[in-house]
């Protein structure tokens, strides 16, 4: 744990007497009390021993957040969130609380890992078993770290980066998603817990896929994650976020922010597999996931490619976007969103064409089963100066059963008469003919659905790095269990 600045403690203590017998007197305290106010923001910042400018940055965000209203335009329904009835800071769990071995882990969770084909050693880590006892991930991480350092790539937690690379963080944090961007992003700006920072120097092709897998041990990234990736001119990085395996998490509200900045001739490939707890079959529980992801193609011929496979969460509210500012820059969005049982997803993308000859591609595949509600919401905006801009959008919905729903809400705003914008959309059902055909060939109904859905999602899955793609296929199958009789 980072040493605490005594002055900061004093400041916090002075701010309110309440804390005297509370957590602040105990510097090892794991939780901030419930609720959200300036003191909590100060506490979080102090816990992380942050510089004054960042504290002020958080406080500005918090003050602005108090003036904002929760957005209601999306097609998701959930009970009113009481933001004062939540914890905003929880330190990583001490190993003493963690299960001591796999025997202490919920067998259902282990069953899912089994189905996903996750190696035994990783299962323990994912289930929260005190990892060092199981396998030595530290040495693996060290090897990777050395290799990255040799290439000059910075890959660290956000908290570390604030201390080690303050100039980079200060100039880029909030440069794509401003502090006061939207309700959830602003909340995140005030209370973000931790996250990832990646910096790829000029002309460097990152020697490996950067995956949060490597950080399994390192961080309890928690509910308010903040990610910042910077690709300098001529560089390339592929970043994998998330995990196909459901991870232990007690926080219901998640509001992450991801910012990408890409300079001349550089590219970032950002792949996500999101499998947060979706709630039970009756729609009880489950994570609310309100995410703001945006990338800025700042340089000439820069490129951002988002690929996401969203199968988890009770509520998904997420629109990974590209601001195509540099001439000739390219934005891509490949998405599979699956809702089963009572899950609701309102997801899509925004492609903002500013530069000349910018182009974007959107391939969205929605899958709804059970009572799931799946909405594609996307914006293609072409500004007046975007000569020669092109967009291609393909937006498909697949329905399994007759109690689910699929909705498509495309917005297209074109201010340049020379722009080319194409939009294709289809809605289909898995037919009885297809199911029976597969069953006649020996596949069970569930295998059949899995094969058909994976075929339908192929255009997106092929964009994922190989190993991830294989796991994602299995994940789709597991997520659809029980969707056919």
């Amino acid at each position: 744990m980072m040493a605490m600045n005594p002055d900061t403690i004093e400041t916090v203590e002075a701010a309110t007497g309440e804390y005297k017998y509370g957590f602040v007197t105990d510097i090892e305290s794991e939780f901030a009390p419930k609720g959200l106010n300036e003191d909590i923001v100060r506490f979080i910042s102090a816990k992380k021993d942050e510089p004054e400018w960042l504290l002020q940055w958080r406080l500005e965000a918090f003050r602005h957040w108090q003036t904002m209203a929760e957005p209601k335009w999306s097609r998701v329904r959930y009970p009113t969130i009481d933001f004062q009835d939540a914890y905003y800071y929880a330190a990583p769990k001490s190993p003493d609380d963690a299960p001591k071995s796999l025997d202490e882990v919920d067998p259902k969770l282990l069953e899912t890992y089994e189905k996903l084909g996750i190696p035994l050693a990783e299962r323990a880590a994912l289930a929260g078993v005190a990892v060092d006892a199981v396998f030595d991930s530290v040495s693996v991480a060290t090897t990777f770290k050395a290799e990255l350092e040799k290439a000059g790539v910075i890959f660290s937690s956000m908290s570390e980066a604030v201390h080690d690379h303050p100039e980079l963080i200060r100039s880029y944090l909030g440069s794509v998603v401003p502090q006061a961007d939207n309700f959830y992003a602003t909340l995140n700006s005030a209370v973000f817990s931790d996250g990832t920072f990646v910096y790829v120097p000029e002309g460097v092709r990152c020697p490996m896929e950067l995956s949060t897998y490597f950080r399994i041990n390192a961080a309890n990234t928690g509910q308010f994650e903040r990610t910042l990736i910077i690709a300098e001119a001529g560089s390339y990085v592929s970043y994998l976020e998330g995990c196909t395996a459901p991870m232990r998490d007690e926080n219901q509200l998640h509001a992450a922010v991801v910012e990408l900045v890409v300079h001349d001739e550089a590219a970032i490939k950002y792949s996500t597999v999101q499998n947060w707890y979706p709630g039970d079959a009756d729609g009880k529980g489950g994570i609310y996931n309100f995410v703001t992801k945006r990338g800025l193609c700042r340089g000439r011929n820069s490129k951002i490619s988002w690929t996401q496979v969203e199968t988890g969460s009770a509520i998904t509210w997420k629109y990974p976007s590209c601001v195509l500012e540099g001439d000739g820059s390219v934005g891509e969005f490949y998405s599979v969103a699956l809702t089963n049982n009572h899950q609701q997803a309102d997801t899509g993308t925004k492609m903002i064409h500013i530069g000349r000859n910018t182009s974007s591609t959107i391939i969205s595949k929605g899958v709804s089963a059970g009572f799931g509600q799946n909405t594609y919401r996307g914006l293609v905006k072409i500004l007046a100066g975007a000569e020669g801009a092109r967009n291609y959008t393909q937006c498909d919905s697949l329905l399994i059963g007759d109690t689910c729903g699929a909705h498509t809400v495309p917005y297209i705003e074109v201010a340049n008469p020379g722009a080319q914008v194409e939009h294709e959309a289809t809605t289909s059902k898995i037919s009885d003919d297809q199911l029976f055909y597969c069953q006649q060939r020996g596949l069970s109904a569930e295998e059949a659905v899995s094969v058909i859905v994976n075929g339908y999602c192929k255009e997106v899955l092929k964009e994922l790095p190989m190993e991830f793609a294989v796991e994602a296929q299995k994940l789709l199958a597991v997520s659809l269990e029980g969707s056919v009789g």
Partner: protein, 258 residues
């Protein structure tokens, strides 16, 4: 191999098969002919276990088992194969991958070792060659953009891979030109063996010129109305279903309902 007794089948409450009896011995190839709407395809679907085809009376015993208790995939595992009249398209799923999944599903059911990628590739190439199928077809999505003839050949390819004990061919000749018909017939004939039985369902005698049946049955109004040897098919070709007092169009409405 297969014993059907007094089979009654209803679709959406309407009786399509009404008291059908049929015995197929191991190693035999039987043909079922009949006018449109006589219930031929219904029989094929009931054997394969399609949902929505309600057996209201009678029994089907397949290799000593009560077939009606088994799910479609269990029937496939036990060795029933249906070559579809209208093979179904599955976008995005490569034919090769689909067939491997299929073969291994059936092998698992039979407690046999699953086939590896290399071995499977060898196997499927050999079988495809026999059927004069372009290998490129195997890379394409299942039946998507296949011509009528390619779809039917793909069905026979699957049959060859799955090595069923009872193969049911539902109007496999429909939509085939004479060259394709010969290739398909060769494929079926190559599969004939003393351990395997085949049921060929067809409206026309044409196919039976290439696949010579041991027995021919005529299905009309939901039951078998005539049995005979291969010469019965020729006779029907010559004289039409009218020789049995049947009007080819009479049951067309029932077919639509089915």
């Amino acid at each position: 191999m297969l014993s059907i007794r007094n089979l009654h089948v209803a679709v959406e409450g309407k009786e399509i098969l009404c008291g059908l009896d049929l015995e197929i011995a191991t190693g035999e190839l039987h043909a079922i002919m009949g006018p449109n709407g006589s219930g031929k395809s219904t029989l094929a679907y009931v054997l394969a276990g399609r949902e929505g085809y309600d057996v209201t009376a009678g029994e089907i015993v397949f290799r000593g088992k009560n077939l009606l208790e088994l799910a479609p995939e269990e029937r496939a595992g036990d060795g029933i194969f249906l070559a579809f009249q209208y093979p179904v398209e599955i976008p995005g799923v490569s034919t090769m991958a689909f067939l491997k999944t299929s073969v291994n599903s059936v092998r698992r059911y039979r407690d046999e070792k699953e086939i590896g990628a290399v071995e499977f590739l060898k196997l499927i190439r050999a079988k495809a060659k026999q059927l004069k199928m372009d290998e490129k077809l195997l890379q394409r999505a299942v039946n998507v953009g296949f011509s009528g003839g390619e779809k039917k050949r793909n069905e026979i390819l699957q049959m060859a891979l799955l090595e069923p004990r009872l193969a049911v061919l539902d109007e496999t000749d429909s939509g085939l030109d004479i060259d394709a018909l010969k290739i398909v017939a060769d494929g079926v004939n190559a599969m004939r063996s003393p351990e395997r039985s085949t049921l060929v369902i067809t409206h026309y005698q044409r196919l039976l010129g290439y696949i010579v049946p041991d027995r021919v049955h005529v299905l009309a109004q939901g039951r078998i109305v005539a049995d005979g040897g291969k010469e019965l098919a020729l006779e029907l070709e010559e004289k039409g279903y009218a020789m049995l007092g049947l009007d080819d169009g009479e049951a067309a409405a029932r077919e639509t309902a089915a």
